[in-house]
Symmetry: C2
Subunit: 194 residues, 2 copies
DNA sequence: CGTATCATGTAACTAGTTACATGATTCA
DNA sequence: TGAATCATGTAACTAGTTACATGATACG
């Protein structure tokens, strides 16, 4: 029984492997370049995650030897892995919805159906809208009395929320006009140097 | 020896208590309202954190009884607590700098010196600028070849980064013109209903 | 010759979540 | 009567970090 203890980070790694076979080192490099977007992580979490995915039969390994460099373990997703990934993607996202969680899923868009992708963006839109309204309400309720830092943080949140809403609206419109270039262009720019 | 094992979350709670004495339940409520900004947390982390702060002498408790409701434990910061908080605030922030970590500190602005606050905003500015440049570089390098999701995530990050930069510039200018209304207006809007 | 990059991994620890346990009061 | 809100807490677990260990090659 494929333990359903896989949580978001493991699943995200699985998602990356669905786009391209990679080694733990590749994943680290890739994640580091997107640090700001989805957050980096240490080898101490990547390797164990990979071992767990392997133990559950969601990925396979190929050891590739080189003359000049240490051997590399290239992980590839299996059919079972794609299945689990698809199930994960189809599950609704937690209502709080951090930007990080949203972006992690968004990056795996090729595993969404067209409608699924649009639904994901719409869901984000409504979440951000709620948060925006909440922040404005807090801001209105407190006005002068609030601590300077709280006021600044509130303004900051409002500015970011508005930017997100604007982007989401633009993008949703763009996507609804074109039939979506959904032919999955594999490759994430990190050449695996096999 | 006041163990220096206190990490950001504990310190943030300490910071909240520096603005106003609160109970664990108050903190939960307050954090929940700012879920989107700094993230919520469970009682399972709040109460133990409070106990740890108490054990280290950074806060004190007062039990307040009510006729109609359960008794509440109101925590207040001590002088030692303010000291630790000040030291934390004066420490430089990690270079990666998530928005969450930034906002947590920003919310505690009343514990900064004027210059400290401006320095904090400037540091964020330069971090976001670097990230923005990095994302643009990735976007340029990959152009067509990248997966749809990756492209969307990149765009999203760029939009948010630009919004942050704009806000930071506006705010830094605003702050440099006025001598700052730095008389600390205590109170965070959550009436403690003592 | 020392440092950086490539490459994999483990062990000890920290932090946090979820689920449980308790119990009073208010509202439908 | 049953659910919701107020209010505190603990125990078991999960996830993640930091620090360590290993070892090759390349570059200055």
């Amino acid at each position: 029984m494929a333990s359903r203890t896989l949580r978001s980070f493991r699943q995200f790694i699985l998602g990356l492997l669905s786009q391209q076979p990679m080694s733990g080192y590749d994943i680290k490099r890739f994640l580091k370049s997107l640090d700001w977007l989805v957050g980096s992580s240490s080898f101490g979490s990547i390797y164990p995650a990979l071992h767990a995915l392997l133990a559950n039969g969601l990925v396979t390994v190929d050891v590739v030897y080189h003359q000049d460099r240490p051997p590399r373990k290239i992980y590839s997703i299996t059919e079972a892995g794609r299945q689990v990934l698809k199930e994960w993607i189809n599950q609704p996202v937690a209502s709080s919805g951090s930007m990080r969680a949203f972006l992690m899923r968004l990056m795996l868009a090729s595993n969404f159906s067209q409608d699924g992708l649009i639904a994901h963006l719409k869901q984000r839109r409504s979440q951000v809208e709620v948060q925006h309204a909440t922040l404005e309400q807090i801001a209105r309720a407190q006005d002068e009395m609030t601590d300077l830092g709280q006021r600044l943080a509130l303004e900051y949140g409002l500015a970011v929320a508005m930017a997100e809403l604007a982007w989401l609206d633009r993008t949703l419109e763009r996507l609804s006009k074109q039939p979506l270039p959904m032919e999955v262009a594999h490759g994430n720019g990190i050449t695996p140097t096999v």
